[in-house]
Amino acid sequence: MAHGHKSNEKVVFVGDSRVRKKTKTGPSVPPDYSSYPGKSEAFIPNFLLKEWMVGVVVLVGFLVLTISEAAPLGYPADPTNAAFIPMPDWYFLFLYQFLKLQYVSKDYVVLGTVGVPGIAFGALLLAPFLDTGKERRFYRRPITSLLMIMALVSCFWLTKQSWDHYQHELEITNTIPEHILREEKAEEAAKKAAESGGGGEAAEVEVPLVDKDDPAVELTKKAQCVACHGADLKGNESSGIPSFHGIGDEYSKEDLVDIVTNGKNNMPPFKDKLTAEEIDQLATWLAKQKKPE
């Protein structure tokens, strides 16, 4: 708005735009550089080269990020996995957290999914028709600017809340996000493969169960071990449920008695469901589960 229209200008524009005001006389003359004050320059190549400089800075940052942080990949989708904590991508977190607030969830969920976002995004979409004043500077239109700033602050706040909540949940359930767990496991396996001199990545070898006919196997069914650790007793790696195969390499018999009796992490104690002898029998069998030499 820095320059007004002089009556002797060849072309007269609508506001500050390049849309020509309809005049009855004269041929249509393309707008020339003189319609803008200062040092204007051609788009290609002059200006684009300068914008490209900004682009290069962004591109370098982007490529550094891409090379240093691999795109995450967890474990294959498993609809029966009840322990997984669902998380949308970060730019949806504000909406996700918003829907957990008291008066926009449960009975009022329509207000949360349609009402408030509908009004907010509707207002944003129709902003030019709501804020119709001629003034462009943000500090001269305080209501519009304040509404936007408030919306921004709430979005940032909700996003942070959501993230903190997620971190807290990870902590109390003792969960490592899958894509990190998977990467760690892959690294470990690669290291092991390198140590044993074996080429290739086939470090995962199936460990067979020892003493499959032991009466303790019946106990795993009776005590409902199989409900979590699976009918094949291989656990569920992505939920942090360990496999029984080779468990004897990780725990001694005493450890196993303690775990079965008192529980561990998400595993409940079994002292009420099994007798001490049964636990002993089970732990003896579990301790025998070692990798074949």
């Binding site: 849309v19 020339d32 200006f47 498993d78 979409l125 028709f129 004043g133």
Partner: protein, 223 residues
Amino acid sequence: MLKGVYNWIDERLDITPMWRDVADHEVPEHVNPAHHFSAFVYCFGGLTFFITVIQILSGMFLTMYFVPDIINAYKSVDYLQHKVAFGGIVRGMHHWGASLVIVMMFLHTLRVFFTGSYKAPREMNWVVGMLIFFIMLGLGFTGYLLPWDNKAYFATKVGIQIAESVPYIGTYIKELMQGGEIVGAETLTRFFAIHVFFLPGALLALLAAHFFMIRKQGISGPL
């Protein structure tokens, strides 16, 4: 030689006016970061387009390996990530680019908002820009499911649950998105088609309208 080719085409198609429109128009001083450093805020729109181009190119390469079915989707992404030469880089560009495009678009929107550039006569361009914003969010949502890992599966499940809570049409939206009773094989093919054909098509059309209007109206004047 090049000049000869240009003249040969120009004689037949008269492309000079087109070139004038695309390239040879004035850019005013107040948006030029070479003259005013703070004018870099005017670059966010161009950067959004730049990242969008990266997204389209990297996405095109990803579809060479990706298989949209529930048995092979995860395996194909795993293969692409760990076995294909530079596959991890291309997937990384697409993954991080998706976030970056949102960031850039967000900053661009804020610049337009706080400079009041959406005001008359540019109302239509703002509306088209907001539609582009929604399309981008849609691309983010549908793309999230495609690797078919637990994170993808459960986020989509929750997302569809949220859509289902819309009164009257909720169940229809849910069925439309899922393509069936559950989040499963049909959801994946559906999301793939939406992510790769429907939304990019709409995006390109809206971008064309966005750019056409900028050229027609010019950039908003200095404050």
